[in-house]
Amino acid sequence: MLYLQNIGAYFLMIVEMFRKPTKWSVMKQLILKDIDDLIIGSLGIVAFISFFVGGVVAIQTALNISNPLIPKSLVGFATRQSIILEFGPTFMSIIMAGKVGSFITSSIGTMRVTEQIDALEVMGINSLNYLVFPKFISLMLYPFVISISMFLGIVGGMIASVYGDFTTFEHYIEGIQLDFKPFHVIYAFIKTTVFAFVLATIPSFHGYYMKGGALEVGKASTTSFVWTSVVIIIINYLLTQMLLS
C-alpha cells in the first residue's frame, strides 16, 4: 500500500514540477549551475570508467576467441556492440545513479532538514519547480555524456587490444565498422534520455519527501540509489523488448 502511495506521490511531484515556473532569469542560473554540477562534474569519472571498461571488454573478448576461423575483427565488433547497446547507456546510468543520484538526494534532503524548502514555500515559490526542474533540464544533456562514454569505451578497447597484441589496428577498425546499424545508436539514445528523466526525478523525490535529520539524509540517498537502479534495469528491459525484438 505504501509503495502505491509513493508511486502516486511521485507522479504528482512530476506534475507539480511543471506548475508555477520560476522567473526565467533565476531559472537560467539554476540550470547552468546544475549543468556544471551534474553534467560537467561527471565527465571525469565517466571518461575514466568508460576507457578502462572498454579495454577490459576488448581483452576478454579476444581471450575467449580460441577458434582460428573466427575473424580478428570480432574483437572490435563485440566491443562496439557491448559499449553502444549496454555499457554506455545502462551500466553508466547505474554508476550515475550512485554519483549524481545521491548528490541530488542529499542536497535536496539537506535543504529539507534545514528548513530551506519551507523557506522557499513560505516565500510563495514553487519549491519543486525551483529545485527539480533545473535538474531535469540539465540532465537532458546526459546523452552527450553517454556519447563521450561510448567513444572513449571504443577507443579504450582499441588501445588495449592493439597494444596488448590481441588484434591489429586495421582489424579493430574493420570490426567497429562491421554490420553497423545506426538504429542501435538511436536505441541507445532513447534509453539514455529516459534514464536521464529517471536520474533527475527519483533521487529528487527521495530527497524532497524525506523526514528526519542528518542520518535520514544518508538513508534516503541509499534508498534513492537502490530505487533508481531498479527502475533503470526494469525500463532497460522494457525498452529493449519494445525497440529491438
Binding site: K20, K23, Q116, D118, A119, M123, G124
Partner: protein, 256 residues
C-alpha cells in the same frame, strides 16, 4: 491583522490543536508561548499554510486562507517574511545573495536597485560588512540577523519568527528581540513570534498567547501576565526563581 477561529489540526489520531481562536494585531509583536509539545510550531506552520488543518479558519485582513486558490496563496506568501529557528539560509549563496533572493524572485528591480536595498537592510540589522561571507562562516547571531534582513527586504506585511533566540547568548537574544520590535513598529507590520524564552516575553510581548496541550489557555500582554492567577501560565512563566522574584517585585511596586 491575522484572525484565527476554532482551529483544529491532527496528525493521524492525535489532535495537536484543539480549537484555537485568537487574533494578531498590526504593528505589534505578538508572542505564542507554551511548553515543548504544546503545539506552538504546528500552530505557526498552520498560519503559514505549510500544514493543512481539519477545521477552523485563518484570515489575513479578512481573506480566509483556505478559500484562496494556489496562485492567491503564493501571492499572499510573497507578503510574508519568515525567520526560521535554524535561520534556513541558502547554503550555496553568500549573505548578500541570500538577502537579495526575494527581490530577485518577486521584483523587477535593476541589479543596482537590489544592491542598494540589500545594503540598506543589512545596515539596518548591523551587518554592513558581511556581504560576501557564506552562511557557514557566520555566527548564530549573525545568521539570525541575516534571516531577519531576508525576511524584511521585500517590505512584508507579516513577519513570523520561529524561536528567534534559540541557541543564542542572552546579550545577542536581547539584540534580536529589540531588532524585531523596532522593525515591527517602523514598518507597521503584523509580527508573530513563537518562543519559550521568558526574557522575550517580558521585553517585547505586546500580545501573548499561551498554548497548553493544544488549547489556548490564556492570552494577554507582558503587563497582564504579572497579574494573572492562571495556574498553568504562572507554573510555566514563573518556573525559575529569578522570574518569581521579578513578579513579586512587580506586584509589590504596583500595589504600593
Amino acid at each position: 491583522m491575522i484572525e484565527v477561529k476554532d482551529l483544529h489540526k491532527s496528525f493521524g489520531d492525535v489532535e495537536i490543536l484543539k480549537g484555537i481562536s485568537t487574533s494578531f494585531e498590526k504593528g505589534k509583536t505578538n508572542l505564542i508561548i507554551g511548553q515543548s509539545g504544546s503545539g506552538k510550531t504546528v500552530f505557526l506552520k498552520c498560519l503559514l499554510g505549510l500544514f493543512n488543518y481539519e477545521s477552523g479558519t485563518i484570515s489575513y485582513e479578512g481573506k480566509i486562507f483556505s478559500n484562496l486558490d494556489e496562485d492567491e496563496k503564493r501571492n499572499l506568501r510573497a507578503e510574508i517574511g519568515m525567520v526560521f529557528q535554524g535561520s534556513a539560509l541558502f547554503d550555496s549563496m553568500t549573505i548578500a545573495e541570500n538577502v537579495m533572493f526575494p527581490l530577485r524572485m518577486f521584483t523587477k528591480q535593476s541589479k543596482s536597485e537590489m544592491e542598494d536595498r540589500v545594503n540598506f537592510v543589512l545596515k539596518r540589522v548591523n551587518l554592513d560588512d558581511a556581504h560576501k561571507k557564506m552562511p557557514s562562516e557566520a555566527s548564530g547571531g549573525m545568521q539570525k540577523r541575516v534571516a531577519i534582513a531576508r525576511a524584511i527586504v521585500n517590505n512584508p506585511k507579516y513577519l513570523f519568527c520561529d524561536e528567534p533566540n534559540s541557541g543564542l547568548d542572552p546579550r545577542t537574544s536581547i539584540v534580536i528581540d529589540n531588532l524585531i520590535q523596532e522593525i515591527t513598529r517602523e514598518y507597521n507590520i503584523t509580527t508573530v513570534i513563537n518562543s519559550h524564552d521568558m526574557n522575550s516575553v517580558m521585553e517585547i510581548g505586546e500580545k501573548i498567547v499561551f498554548l497548553k496541550d493544544g488549547y489556548k489557555e490564556w492570552e494577554g500582554s507582558k503587563k497582564t501576565i504579572f497579574k494573572t492567577d492562571n495556574k498553568a501560565v504562572t507554573n510555566f512563566v514563573y518556573s525559575s526563581n529569578l522570574f518569581k522574584k521579578v513578579r513579586k517585585m512587580y506586584l509589590k511596586e504596583n500595589n504600593n
